[in-house]
Symmetry: C2
């Protein structure tokens, strides 16, 4: 595998896993007042488009990264609606 692809995979792993601590914090403290619902809704729409982009480009890494981030963003939205 080329170095540049490794760089892309590490970048994807970071920008995807970054949402885990936010999900954990919102779930643990049941407090989401400061989190912007608009951000996560717009972000989720973008992730869905990136996922479709990945399908057309037949790029597993784009599908995986945006698919997982999409699930995490969706969970934050659920927690936000639950613990306004």
């Amino acid at each position: 595998m080329q170095n540049i692809e490794i760089l892309g995979l590490v970048a994807a792993a970071l920008t995807t896993s970054a949402f885990v601590p936010q999900v954990y914090k919102a779930w643990k403290h049941k407090s989401t007042k400061d989190i912007s619902l608009t951000m996560y809704l717009v972000f989720l729409m973008g992730l869905i488009l990136w996922f479709i982009y990945g399908v057309y480009q037949e790029s597993l890494s784009i599908m995986l990264a945006n698919g997982i981030t999409g699930v995490l963003a969706f969970i934050v939205i659920i927690l936000k609606l639950k613990h306004r």
Copy 2:
């Protein structure tokens, strides 16, 4: 321009602009307690790697999207540290 590239640009515009409402909310309410600092630090590292990836791939859209998102994420970090 191919439809797939337009899809990518719209996806990039959404996942980039999504952070503007979060910056605005944090700046306006001066309250960031529920925002995960760990998320934004890890996310910023990922964005920096994506930016470097874009430079090597000579992809202006990857550089632009991740560069702007990186600036927005950096502002959220500053607001988070300022208004713990």
